[in-house]
């Protein structure tokens, strides 16, 4: 089981440091990593990721420059491009596939794209090897979850974690460290989902301290660490020094 799924914001602290960060992650044994594409209107993000996106945009981290920076990188975990839909739509499916091909991106997590809305766009990306990661939230009942998991299916054990997992949102609201999340409900949710499929699950939103990460691992799921990591990196802390104590 993948012990940790870190999230970083592309371009924060800087685009230049991104290749080094990714290499460091790989060296730490990180299998997959979510990389956020900074957006002007991150409606699902809390203050930490809003601010990180804002800084990154100010420093010129446009979608194209981010993808260019990723092109050709080999020393990197598998990447999940965490993004809002509009920048992808503006690039267009064809060009996007071209841009993704030379990068370590293995899947997309498009926060504001339900599987019903851009069926053709999504299908083309999927057949080009870029599946969309399903998101399940506390408001998603099991019935609905089943449909979501079916319509964004697990490509199967032959595929890397980055393309297989479903993202389970631990609490209502937006990304962010916030106050300590009560993990009991998400624990029950994870258990229920595990009866539905054997697909790997990641749990995110509000996780930061090692105890919480451990609790998620105890559920048999991969904890996501996002805002806390971004905040630490922005504060100048080293990637390894922050992640090491949280790696199981």
């Amino acid at each position: 089981m993948n012990p940790l799924l870190p999230f970083i914001m592309a371009g924060d602290p800087s685009l230049e440091s991104l290749p080094r960060l990714l290499a460091e992650a790989k060296a730490l044994g990180i299998e997959a990593l979510e990389i956020g594409l900074p957006h002007s209107d991150p409606i699902a993000d809390g203050p930490v990721l809003q601010a990180a996106a804002h800084r990154a945009i100010q420093r010129g981290a446009t979608p194209l420059r981010v993808l260019e920076t990723l092109a050709g990188l080999t020393e990197s975990p598998d990447l999940i491009l965490f993004t809002y839909l509009n920048p992808l739509l503006q690039i267009g499916a064809d060009r996007l596939m071209e841009l993704l091909r030379p990068t370590p991106v293995k899947a997309l997590l498009v926060v504001d794209l339900p599987d019903s809305e851009e069926v053709e766009f999504e299908a083309r990306l999927r057949s080009a090897g870029y599946p969309m990661i399903p998101l399940l939230s506390p408001t998603t009942d099991l019935e609905r979850a089943k449909g979501l998991l079916e319509r964004r299916p697990d490509p199967g054990p032959g595929h890397p974690f980055a393309q297989r997992f479903a993202y389970v949102v631990a609490r209502l609201g937006v990304t962010g460290t916030g106050s300590a999340t009560d993990l009991k409900p998400v624990g029950e949710r994870v258990a229920a989902l595990q009866t539905l499929s054997s697909r790997p699950l990641a749990v995110g939103f509000g996780l930061s301290d090692p105890a919480a990460l451990g609790a998620v691992r105890a559920m048999g799921a991969t904890p996501v660490i996002g805002s806390a990591l971004v905040q630490a990196l922005a504060a100048g802390e080293g990637f390894g020094s922050f992640l090491n104590p949280r790696l199981a």
């Binding site: 409606i43 739509l89 794209l113 339900p114 019903s116 939230s137 609905r144």
Partner: protein, 427 residues
């Protein structure tokens, strides 16, 4: 003098044209029915605008909302409740005022103003806010979240919540809070918490961002009253449905007063709620329909909020529509003297109607709007909201094009804009 009976109680009941979007622009190939759990059409026009581009956390609340909406509009008790509030609290029907002096000044044969400025709280926004608040109460929600730009929707939501005993939080950009200060005070007097939004340019777009985030965190207890015909499905349909009372009334009134339809109908358009509210009931009629966007102070990106020419198709705040954006798909800055039109996306149904040739979209600049406000003040004794002044500003253009009888949606009163009028007009 004969003593006839002036009695509000004898007024005919309001019709609430609560019906799904019209066939010509309701079906879209972009959204296979199989994938969507919604039962109402989610898309508009040939281009399939609209949709529901929402984070998963909000999907079930949106589904629940659609279901509650569908049930409510089928339920006579909701109709009764809503009609009663519209009549007895909001003050509907609003008058249709003939403006003969302004018509003469501008070279029109006749001009009729649909007086949403006379509603309680002073703009059309209350039609939707009250309807959604009643819907929220039916859904067992006890908290309301809303965004506001000009503050009119915020005040309307605050009033509706006070009236129904719901708690209310309104998100508002800090720039808008400054330029629409009277409305901030009014919301607070109604017991509403007004949360300043510092991000970005501090206007409506950022307020919507923040309201969506707040809703995601409280969607188990809270309903989000979106204030214009935008956002993810079912909001555009919901808001438009609750606003067509404007055009339904106006159409009947102009027929009753003149025996004929006008040759043109015009309204301003921010998100598009008053525009659709007025224009949709005239869609089947042989007349010209206009919507007016904010031309701001220039034609470069960032200097206006004119989405038809300036925008490209994109997704913001849960729907696909004409959007002012840069080449990276980042939302562009906008500028308008009127907070209520200062928004980068045209509501999807209005955009679809524009692209499909049903509604012509024009723009008026800040300066044109300011001047037009003085025309109405001086010729008819009515102080328009800055938003509504944008529609007034196009009247000379309509006259030049040969239109003679115009029906104009006066979406709100200008009291909130007094400080701007004073400083810009040197009053």
């Amino acid at each position: 003098m004969r003593a006839t009976n002036m009695n509000e109680g004898d007024r005919p009941l309001a019709s609430l044209p609560l019906r799904p979007p019209r066939a010509p622009h309701s079906v879209s190939g972009h959204s296979p029915a199989t994938a969507s759990a919604f039962l109402l059409p989610t898309r508009f026009g040939a281009g399939g605008l609209g949709g529901c581009y929402a984070p998963e956390t909000l999907m079930q609340p949106l589904l629940d909302l659609e279901e509650a909406f569908r049930k409510a509009v089928e339920d006579p008790s909701f109709e009764t409740e809503l009609k009663s509030e519209l009549r007895h609290f909001v003050g509907r029907p609003t008058p249709l005022t003939s403006a003969p002096r302004l018509a003469a000044k501008l070279g029109l044969k006749a001009l009729f103003l649909k007086r949403e400025d006379l509603t309680h709280t002073g703009a059309h926004k209350i039609n939707n806010a009250m309807a959604q608040a009643l819907l929220a109460r039916r859904m067992g929600k006890t908290e309301i979240i809303a965004e506001t730009g000009a503050g009119q929707h915020g005040v309307a939501a605050a009033a509706a919540c006070a009236r129904l005993g719901l708690s209310c939080t309104v998100y508002m950009g800090v720039v808008d809070m400054a330029r629409q200060a009277p409305n901030v005070a009014r919301m607070r007097l109604f017991g509403t918490q007004v949360v300043p939004v510092e991000a970005g340019q501090g206007t409506l777009k950022e307020a919507v961002n923040e309201a969506l985030r707040a809703w995601a965190a409280r969607c188990d207890k809270a309903h989000y009253i979106l204030g214009s015909a935008l956002g993810p499905h079912p909001f555009p349909t919901l808001v438009r449905t609750f606003q067509t009372v404007i055009g339904e009334e106006a159409r009947a009134q102009v027929l009753e007063q003149t025996g004929a339809l006008p040759d043109s109908v015009i309204a301003c358009a921010g998100g598009g709620s008053n525009g659709l509210g007025l224009l949709v009931p005239f869609l089947g009629d042989a007349l010209h329909r206009f919507a007016v966007e904010a031309g701001g102070h220039g034609s470069a990106l960032g200097e206006h909020a004119a989405r038809l020419d300036g925008g490209r198709m994109g997704v913001l705040h849960g729907c696909k529509t004409l959007l002012l954006q840069d080449q990276h798909g980042h939302t562009a800055e906008t500028a308008s003297i009127s907070a209520g039109l200062d928004y980068p996306a045209l509501g999807p149904e209005l955009a679809a109607l524009a692209l499909d040739g049903q509604i012509e979209v024009l723009r008026a600049s800040d300066d044109q709007a300011l001047e037009a406000a003085t025309w109405l003040c001086e010729s008819e004794g009515i102080l328009p909201a800055l938003e509504s002044s944008h529609a007034l500003a196009l009247l000379p253009e309509l006259a030049k094009r040969g239109f003679a009888t115009v029906l104009l949606g006066l979406s709100g009163r200008g009291d909130k804009d007094l400080a701007t009028y004073q400083s810009k007009l040197g009053i």
